[in-house]
């Protein structure tokens, strides 16, 4: 065990020597159980069989797979990102830690090496999780490893488990809501996910319950050449409240990895869901080699009146991000929020934003997106605000600001605004600028080094978003930003 741990650490050291500042670039040496590379109907059946799924689940997967494999169904090309074509037959669609095949029932049964891995992530399952009052569902290479804090949740009637467990134990809920927000035919990657998703998190908050603790999932891709396809479904029933946190990391690989997740949120009347993401997938090295392709579909539906869905995301990782957490504002007086900080450095590319679809009366949405580009990074804010004819008195406020660090990067803003109701009020504003010379000068003449000064200014630029994050996450986000920016200035 000791030698193992040392080996892991030494590999970490080597990787640092290699070049990167990516601190999470270790691989955990666990026996992986992987299905051979490639995707076919048999693979879909095999995934389903391995998870001992009921017939309806298999049918849904097959329906998705058949839709996906149609000739005319191709990858979306409209995003402002460039990458070599993905060979969908050259990757593993299922990889599970072998020890998890038996399904660990408690933390004690979890492979200590996995636990150590999470310890390294700064998200210790055992001690700190309890202190922080966070229930963690850790998903390692698509399979849920453990869910802590189960007892307290059960007392409140909250269901929080892996998607596999939910399919076994709560098939009625899963059947009712799965695909209700992101239909299987929604887009290329969502369809792929519907066919091959291996695990993910499921949460159901019963009517009137305020979830006593924050729910959290940690995602990690471990196996090489594998794609991660997790599926998350959160349902907040009438008057319920839940705050959900999500973190992601991946080891350093020379080849790129695909991550195509789907997240669905459903908020019934008077319910509120707060969804926070800290995305730190491996961004590739300084020459733009490797890194995760993060092609994710996230969407929430404010199904009932007076409901609220709030997305907060800090995106510092991934070679390519393609992600638009959206809210369908169906219920009257419902509220949608999107707060985002996206940072690109080196050769990272991000095309991210949100969609706010106003359908109900007096629905309100707020979008605040902050983009930071450094190195050769290119990022695009792409957002849609749609006010349907039925959305009387709808309001939207959008602000997207971009900060440019260095003269090789780019920042782009592509908002789509569609207004079909005259009583709607919508405002959009955006600015793009570099770090102010005056501010830098001021800080530097107070004796602050140029790098620290840059970081202070950038941190201030993002402050409004960090405030939306739960406290521990906000601290981590700030650190993450600092690490991601190291070496770009000064």
């Amino acid at each position: 065990m000791t030698s193992q741990a040392q080996r892991v650490i030494s590999r970490d050291t080597t990787s640092e020597e290699l070049d990167s500042d990516y601190q999470w670039g270790f691989t955990i040496d666990i026996d992986q159980e992987a299905i051979p590379k490639g995707l076919s109907e048999d693979v879909v059946r095999l995934i389903s069989a391995k998870k001992n799924e009921p017939q309806w689940m298999l049918d849904w997967r097959l329906k998705s797979y058949r839709f996906w494999s149609r000739q005319t169904y191709t990858e979306p090309k409209w995003a402002n990102v460039e990458y070599p074509p993905i060979d969908f037959q050259d990757m593993h669609y299922y990889a599970a830690p072998k020890s998890a095949a038996d399904g660990p029932q408690s933390l004690d049964e979890v492979d200590p090496e996995v636990l150590e891995a999470f310890g390294k992530l700064g998200i210790p399952l055992e001690e700190q999780a309890r202190l922080a009052g966070v229930a963690v569902d850790a998903v390692l290479d698509s399979v849920s490893v453990a869910t802590t804090y189960q007892e307290q949740l059960e007392k409140a009637g909250v269901i929080f488990c892996s998607m596999s467990e939910a399919i076994q134990n709560h098939p009625d809920l899963v059947q009712k809501y799965l695909g209700s927000v992101v239909p299987f035919a929604d887009n290329f990657y969502a369809t792929l996910n519907s066919a091959v998703f291996s695990d993910g998190s499921f949460a159901y908050i019963p009517p009137g319950v305020r979830c006593p603790i924050e729910l959290m999932t940690y995602f990690r891709i471990n196996q090489a050449d594998s794609g991660q396809f997790e599926r998350t479904l959160i349902v907040a029933d009438e008057g319920a409240y839940v705050s959900y946190l999500e973190g992601c990391t991946a080891p350093m690989r020379k080849t790129s990895q695909l991550h195509a997740a789907v997240v669905e949120l459903v908020a019934m009347e008077g319910a509120e869901i707060k969804y926070s993401t800290l995305q730190n997938w491996y961004p590739g090295d300084r020459n733009g080699e490797g890194g995760v392709y993060n092609f994710v579909t996230k969407r929430g539906k404010c199904a009932g009146a007076d409901s609220k869905i709030s997305w907060t995301q800090v995106e510092t990782g991934s070679a390519i991000t393609w992600k638009y957490p959206s809210v369908i504002l169906q219920g009257d007086n419902s509220v949608g929020e999107f707060y985002s900080v996206a940072l690109v450095n080196n050769w990272q590319q991000a095309d991210t934003g949100t969609k706010m679809i106003h359908m109900g009366k007096n629905t309100r949405s707020t979008i605040v997106a902050k983009g930071i580009s450094a190195g050769q990074g290119q990022q695009t804010y792409r957002g849609l605000v749609k006010i349907n004819p039925s959305a009387k008195g709808a309001r939207n406020f959008t602000q997207c600001d971009s900060l440019l660090v260095g003269d090789q990067c780019g920042a782009h803003t592509v908002p789509y605004i569609e207004v079909k109701n005259p009583t709607a009020q919508m405002e959009h504003e955006a600015t793009t600028s570099k770090v102010s010379d005056d501010q830098l000068f001021y800080l530097q003449q107070r004796g602050i080094g140029v790098e620290d000064a840059h970081f202070m200014i950038i941190n201030g630029f993002c402050r409004g978003i960090f405030q939306e994050l739960p406290f521990e996450f906000a601290m981590e986000a700030s650190q993450l930003l600092k690490v991601s920016l190291e070496g770009t200035v000064g």
Partner: protein, 453 residues
């Protein structure tokens, strides 16, 4: 095993194939070559009718234009009288001290114009423009709005025949040139493909007005404008889309600015069933200034699309893009603004704004003000708004004793004035102000006062 013959444009547009074949070859080889280039491009591109993956036409369906079999060629006698100068004067802004040129159904009409084709610096008829050696042929004509990228520009080029060429010598002030494109109801549905080519030499000045008018019948105006603004030159441009109620209008305008030049444009859209103003400016010299203002007033089932591109290719450029719209009835307006700042174009200062006033439950606005920035030392911003007249403002005015009808007229007029006031040419400003004042939807507007229901 059957092989499918490659799709030819002829399958979709037999009328254009026929008209192109019937077109009399131009005596000027350069024009003939240009037409061939245009036709080749059109055969490759067709019209931009694709509904998927066609970002420049995302919110506007070119299908209705593609489906009509428009006629070309000489005026078929429709029983209508030949238009007179009085008709042109009534339909468009006109001053006797301007140089007024009238284009009737795509052909220059000297008898209706106040200048001949050989007025200094002006050549009417593109062939003449080339023959008069206005240096438009090689550098501007067909190169600023190349046919190779856009189906409508290609079509216009394939039928290049008549139009206006303006060449302003270095340091000269060419005054006001007023071009009136008058379409008659003869031989409808008719398509015309007029072209305006302007070359402003270094440190010269010119003001150009383009007005598109016609009867309330179906026809297509497919216009192209190309302007080269030389170093230190100033060009003031006005584009008045005042087509008839059933008309289709597609305008492709391209401007190339050199160092320290200034280009300003006010584009007005008040007319046409389906109108598109595709306006592109490239700031190809340092310190260039570009101001594009626009105002669109839509009603009925009108569809107006403003597709504006500003490309900052060199440092120290300034651009101001400001469009406003007033939408009533079942109408729909589209604003697609793209400001690009190239890697090299440091110290760029670009602002982009689109504001919309929706007066009816059925009106729709789709606004897409994008910024693409590849340089770091820039100051760029954009803003867009859509909504109704501010309730508090209405309340204030009513509390001063103004009735609802007067209040709404004053407020809508004020909204439009912000753009009309940017018209520097006084007689034109007065003309537009009066036109808009008369066109403002009257008391029928139901303002949502007293809370939203």
């Amino acid at each position: 095993m059957t092989t499918i013959a490659p799709r030819s444009v002829a399958d979709d547009f037999p009328n254009y194939v026929e008209a192109y074949a019937a077109q009399v070859g131009s005596a000027v080889p350069a024009i003939q070559q240009l037409r061939e280039r245009g036709w080749e491009a059109f055969n490759r591109l067709g019209l931009p009718t694709a509904r998927r993956g066609n970002e420049p036409w995302k919110y506007t369906n070119a299908g209705p234009i593609a489906r009509v079999s428009f006629a070309h060629g000489d005026h078929a006698s429709g029983g209508e009288a030949e238009p007179t100068q009085a008709d042109a004067r009534a339909a468009a802004p006109w001053q006797s001290d301007w140089r007024n040129l009238v284009i009737v159904d795509g052909a220059f009409a000297p008898s209706l114009s106040t200048v001949n084709g050989d007025s200094p610096g002006i050549a009417a008829g593109l062939a003449d423009a080339l023959l008069a050696n206005l240096e438009l042929g090689s550098t501007v004509l067909g190169s600023l709005a190349p046919p190779d990228e856009d189906g409508f520009a290609a079509l216009n080029t394939a039928f290049a025949g008549d139009g206006v060429g303006v060449s302003v010598p270095p340091g000269a002030d060419a005054g006001v040139i007023n071009v009136v494109y008058l379409t008659t109801g003869r031989g409808q549905p008719r398509a015309t493909h007029p072209r305006l080519v302007i070359s402003a030499a270094p440190n010269s000045r010119v003001t150009v007005i383009e007005t598109f008018v016609g009867p309330d019948v179906r026809y297509l105006t497919n216009a192209v404008m190309e302007t080269s603004v030389g170093e230190g030159a100033r060009v003031e441009h006005y584009r008045l889309l005042l087509e008839g109620q059933e008309a289709y209008h597609v305008g492709v305008s391209r401007v190339l600015q050199q160092k320290d030049s200034a280009f300003s444009s006010v584009a007005i859209a008040h007319g046409a069933e389906l109108g598109r103003n595709d306006f592109g400016v490239t700031l190809a010299g340092t310190g260039a200034e570009c101001t594009l203002n626009g105002l669109y007033l839509t009603n009925g089932t009108q569809h107006i699309d403003n597709y504006i591109n500003i490309d900052h290719a060199e440092p120290y450029g300034t651009s101001r893009l400001f469009y406003k719209g007033i939408l009533d009835g079942h109408s729909r307006a589209v604003f697609g603004g793209n400001v690009t700042v190239r890697k090299h174009a440091q110290k760029t200062d670009a602002q982009q704004t689109d504001k919309n006033l929706l007066l009816s439950e059925e009106a729709e606005v789709d606004s897409k003000p994008s910024l693409l920035i590849y340089a770091d030392d820039v100051k760029c911003g954009h803003g867009a708004t859509a909504g109704h007249i501010d309730e508090d403002t209405v309340f204030y005015m009513r509390s001063r004793g103004l009735d609802l009808a007067t209040t709404s007229r004053i407020l809508i007029h004020a909204f439009a004035s912000e753009i009309i006031d940017t018209v520097a040419l006084e007689p034109l400003r007065e003309y537009l102000d009066e036109r808009f004042r008369n066109a403002i939807p009257s008391a029928s507007i139901a303002l949502p006062i007293g809370g939203r229901s």
